[in-house]
Amino acid sequence: MARVELVNVSKRYGDVIIVPGADLEIKDNEFIVFVGPSGCGKSTILRMIAGLEPISGGEIHIGDRVVNNVSPKSRNVAMVFQNYALYPHMTVRDNMGFSLKMAKRSKSEIDEAVNRAAEVLELGQLLDRKPSELSGGQRQRVAMGRAIVRQPDVFLFDEPLSNLDAQLRTQMRRELKKLHMKLATTTIYVTHDQIEAMTLASRIVILKDGEIQQVGTPVEVFEKPANVFVAQFIGNPPMNILEGIFETSGGSPVVRAGGSVFPVPEGRVPDLAGGAPVLVGLRPDSIKMGENVERLPKEWWCRGEVVVSEILGGQSLLEIVVDDNELIAEVEGRIEAQPGETVPIGFEFDRMVLFDPETTKAIS
């Protein structure tokens, strides 16, 4: 139960700057997910919050305290590691009770706390086993059990599910969500998995080279990416980005890209002079085909030539060319179009995002 705040927190290893200066405010009970490419400093920030890594500058607040000089154990944070980091020589019970034992709690108190956590995580039968006698999913559960036994102020997760197979990962993801609803503890969660980020997060933090690119709810970062990097990092397949020119001539504002003229809907019109270069971002799922086209306003219709089409169960993934612009489209239903065929398509232009080509930042 605590808020966490990073104020200009930085990290250097010698001359190498890993985190130039991160500002972030995490509210009580929030579930914050860090995403970003490998090596961008997610684990480093997490470890700095835990106190396992000294910070090179700035301040970290947990609750009402500045914890810069507080030892890891006194920060009252619990961490779950990617490889679980269970003590191999201890039983599940001893693993889970270790922190309380270190805190010199009485044996009955430890037993009670361990049993309660075991019940929540359905570990009752496994309490007397050693970690080597458990499956990956069970080890993961024990690692979480060890974290919740202490009733910490903050949970830190560093890619906790990445060693599990796809099915188990989905299941554990749901359980994590339930657990968070039940315990309502501030959580910071690092992952590479977009679905985990989208489904678990109350807010997502996107990092690149140690710098925070955007902080927002899953819908916000998906629909209103702050810059081209976020637009392409979040969402799979990534957002289509086209180079174009903004024009206001002829009354209604448009963007010319390649041979196309995309109308800019009201509410998305940038504060730019005519003739300014822009980047146009169009989500693959904002492109419609088949009968869905007709639900869109007529001026958002056009035609495109199919280059490749792949059917993924209930969805289809297509590469299409619209007036020389290559676009990836992710559309509902099975579109059985032949390569070379010209088909009617429609754009949800109200979801269009415009970026400044110089700074790559979104233009509001």
Binding site: L52, P72, V77, A85, L86, Y87, M102, R150
Partner: protein, 373 residues
């Protein structure tokens, strides 16, 4: 199917020479020694070209353990026990301690590691010569306090005649049984937390009962000797133990340091977040995790202490009774006294004692490996 059997034949042919050689030169000779230890091959027969060896059963062994003339062997056996225990405690303790210090990654760790490991590379003869000089009554270690302004020690590291912890060999059986009871109770207490009912049934109750029975009816046990014969811990062996610890602490340090380095950073971090101090980390996480290393160290050191020969030879010579060892006794009995049969019996006793250490170790490690598969 044919491929497999051909592989087997190849494997068999490849292994055959070493199987034959080991069969003859290791197991064959062990068998021959057992045989000799049950004969009367000594005295005149030891010198003859075609000796007559008569089978006399276990008589040599009986004499060693309860014969009038073999007190020296019995004291040597007691010495060997003390050597082993003190070497284990000293080398494992000091090695572990240095390993923990180096695991804190002090400056110059690599250099220090080499320094501590260096004694290992010396031969026992060199170590013995160095330490004989260091432990001379009027030099070396005894002069250390004078550097601090104190008075020089006058302890006779290698020739002290003092003996402590005396016991009467007559009472060997009750003492061994008490020891067994003590070990059972100790094991029981260790297992009490994990599985109380088993601890009581298999360890504590039998231990206490055994102890009580020996205490009440110990007098009914047969005496191991017809006369009183006192043995104990000869203080003169301290110097030799010191030299051995010096030589082998670096080795246990290397074992533990490798083990500590193998513990993942995440596990250390997890322990720190769980509130473990550095002391707690080593006490509750790192050292218990390295139990296999501790077991290996104990096995290796105990068989080294049972094979101790050259170091004692170099430090006090083979004839100094106070610092004797069964291995030296075996040498003296066989080649000085020309009592080949009794020498062989001593060898077999040492072999069996070493076996009691090593066989359980081999069995458990074999089982672990099979389970790991």
């Amino acid at each position: 199917m044919r491929e497999v059997s051909r592989d087997r034949i190849k494997a068999f042919i490849t292994l055959l020479p070493s199987v034959v050689l080991i069969g003859v030169f290791v197991y064959g000779f062990i068998g021959n020694t057992v045989w000799i230890s049950m004969t009367d091959w000594r005295g005149g027969a030891a010198l003859s070209e075609n000796p007559v060896k008569n089978f006399i059963g276990m008589q040599n062994y009986v004499e060693l353990f309860s014969g009038f003339l073999d007190g020296r062997f019995r004291q040597d056996l007691v010495n060997a026990v003390y050597y082993s225990v003190l070497l284990l405690v000293g080398a494992v303790g000091i090695g572990m301690f240095i390993a923990i210090l180096l695991d804190r990654k002090p400056r110059g760790e690599d250099f220090l590691r080499t320094v501590f490991l260096y004694p290992m590379s010396l031969s026992f003869i060199v170590t013995g010569t160095i330490w004989r000089w260091l432990l001379a009554p009027q030099g070396g270690v005894n002069l250390l306090p004078t550097y601090l302004g104190g008075k020089a020690l006058d302890f006779q590291w290698l020739s002290s005649m003092k003996t402590v912890l005396l016991f009467d060999w007559q009472n060997l059986f009750p003492i061994l049984l008490y020891l067994a009871a003590f070990v059972l109770i100790l094991l029981g207490l260790g297992k009490l937390r994990r599985d109380p009912s088993r601890a009581f049934k298999h360890y504590l109750v039998p231990g206490v009962v055994l102890g009580a029975v020996v205490w009440l009816f110990g007098d009914l046990l047969p005496r191991a000797l017809f006369m009183e014969e006192e043995h104990g811990f000869n203080l003169a062996t301290l110097g030799i133990i010191l030299a051995t610890i010096w030589q082998y602490s670096g080795y246990t340090m290397a074992l533990y340091l490798a083990g500590f380095n193998g513990i993942s950073q995440d596990l250390m971090d997890a322990a720190r977040l769980d509130g473990a101090s550095d002391f707690d980390y080593y006490m509750h996480v790192a050292i218990p995790m390295l139990k296999p290393i501790t077991i290996s160290a104990v096995i290796i050191l105990s068989h080294i202490s049972l094979k101790m020969f050259d170091l004692i030879f170099a430090m006090t010579g083979p004839d100094n009774a106070a610092t004797g060892h069964p291995a030296l006794d075996m040498y003296l009995t066989t080649f000085r006294a020309n009592d080949f049969a009794k020498g062989a019996a001593i060898a077999i006793v040492l072999f069996l004692v070493a076996g009691t250490f090593i066989i359980p170790y081999l069995v458990t490690s074999y089982r672990q490996r099979r389970n790991a598969r």
